[in-house]
């Protein structure tokens, strides 16, 4: 039988199959234990790096894979299906990569991209603070200009892979004698974590993506050389916004991966498990749940394909397409995981089955890189643009 036409070409499908094989063979078998230990083993990170996957968005001139945004999305789906914490690694690393690729000087690209592409340098995104999350304009971490660079002071919290990142994309507020909370400009800095004055504290006891090596980061009079500033004054929030767009695209595809994993686990369980002399799969109420999951996964995947294509084309609507994909995929993943646990019954409440982890991981997707409520606000503000065009 001829295969159903895909939403992507043969080269992309070949890459997807490679991503899937790698994720299922080398990542998925360790996901439960990483979740239990709340720790990402170095070996796993090394394996992802050795495949060049951390350089997905880096162009070939800097040693990257030069994947397009659809291929990058499919990589996130496959890693997300295997382990959301590994997908999180790719998310925050790629946010740093994207910022350097889009906003970096020739010197910054030459200095940082080869290491980021090969995974010798792990990147992470440091925006959120104890008192500032979704509101990037409310950041309190200060950058004061000094001879040859900037002095950074402040605290960042909930930073994924903050425990082990080598290079942070830090958002700070420029503080001058004239600045007030209302007029402070944001600045984006590339911050090597071996800088004196920097320290980090692991955060444990998380609900989901528990092996994401979250940390609280402390900057105490850290000197950042002027050449580490990304882009020009006034563009700090634009750097932040474009990094968040990549983060949201990555998380959206990761949500599709979680839901696909829930669907596969549920279908397999329902076929095997017997109740009332019949396989669960033969009960109509279970069939209804599996049908809803199948349709939901595919609709979210299509939104993600659209967002990736818009982003690849550099279309101004890509911002909106990514917002919608992330909002929908996160919600859909949470619903799919909820149904998967229900289908598994008591077994779904045990960590012997992956669906309980998928359920917890799915919930976090509605919070990270913009809560669903923040995204609803941002999407609503763009409705006029859609109607005008």
């Amino acid at each position: 039988m001829k295969p159903v036409p895909l939403f992507w070409d043969a080269e992309t499908e070949s890459k997807r199959l490679q991503f899937r094989q790698f994720a299922q063979e080398h990542i998925a078998p360790h996901a439960q234990e990483a979740d239990r230990q709340e720790h990402m083993p170095h070996d796993i990170i090394a394996q992802v790096a050795s495949q060049g996957l951390l350089g997905s968005l880096v162009t070939s001139e800097y040693g990257g894979r030069n994947d397009d945004y659809l291929q990058f999305g499919l990589l996130n789906e496959e890693l997300g299906a295997a382990c959301s914490s590994v997908r999180t690694l790719l998310t925050v690393h790629s946010m740093t990569v994207q910022a350097v690729m889009q906003w970096g000087t020739a010197e910054q690209k030459k200095k940082y991209l080869p290491g980021l592409a090969q995974g010798r340098t792990l990147g992470a995104f440091a925006l959120t603070e104890p008192q500032a999350g979704s509101d990037a304009r409310g950041i309190a971490t200060s950058a004061v200009q000094t001879e040859g660079g900037w002095i950074l002071n402040g605290v960042k919290r909930w930073i994924s892979f903050g425990q082990c990142a080598d290079l942070l994309l830090v958002m700070a507020a420029v503080e001058t004698k004239q600045s007030t909370p209302a007029n402070r400009q944001a600045i984006a800095l590339l911050f090597p974590t071996n800088t004196p004055g920097f320290s980090r504290q692991p955060i444990k006891g998380l609900l989901g993506t528990r092996a994401s090596m979250l940390a609280e980061l402390h900057f105490n009079d850290c000197f950042v050389p002027a050449e580490n500033v990304l882009s020009r004054p006034g563009f700090g929030l634009a750097v932040c916004s474009s990094a968040l767009e990549i983060g949201r695209l990555s998380v959206a595809w990761g949500g599709v991966g979680i839901a696909q994993a829930c669907l596969e686990a549920s279908a397999a369980y329902a076929a095997k498990r017997r109740q009332f002399d019949r396989a669960l799969a033969e009960h109509q109420l279970i069939q209804a749940k599996i049908t809803d999951m199948m349709v939901a996964v595919q609709t979210a995947r299509l939104l993600c394909v659209q967002a990736s294509r818009a982003r690849q084309a550099g279309h101004p609507h890509s911002v909106l397409d990514v917002l919608m994909a992330k909002y929908h995929a996160a919600k859909m993943a949470q619903q799919a995981a909820q149904q998967a646990v229900q289908i598994h019954g008591a077994n779904g409440c045990s960590d012997e089955y992956p669906v309980s982890r998928l359920y917890r991981d799915a919930k976090t997707l509605e919070i990270i890189e913009g809560t669903s409520e923040v995204l609803q606000g941002l999407i609503a503000k763009q409705v006029r643009m859609v109607l005008n065009n």
């Binding site: 006034g234 929030l237 916004s241 474009s242 767009e245 101004p316 763009q382 006029r384």
Partner: protein, 81 residues
Amino acid sequence: MSKINEAVRGFLAGLCDVDSLSDDDDIFAGGFVNSLYLVQMLNFIQSEFSIELDEDDYDMANFRSLNAIETFINEKQKDQQ
């Protein structure tokens, strides 16, 4: 009104109220465009006018007003011809 001005106004109309926006108004200071939407505007300028931005172009002076944007696009198009 030039075609560039008309196109940029048309784009901004999707984000803010452009009726009271004059060609020299500071679109950021005036609150017409939230800087979070700056990326979206840069994408629009690149795709609509077939120009490629490089690191030297990221200067707020190029994007501060409708007149500044038009001057920048005209110069960029000449450079890339």
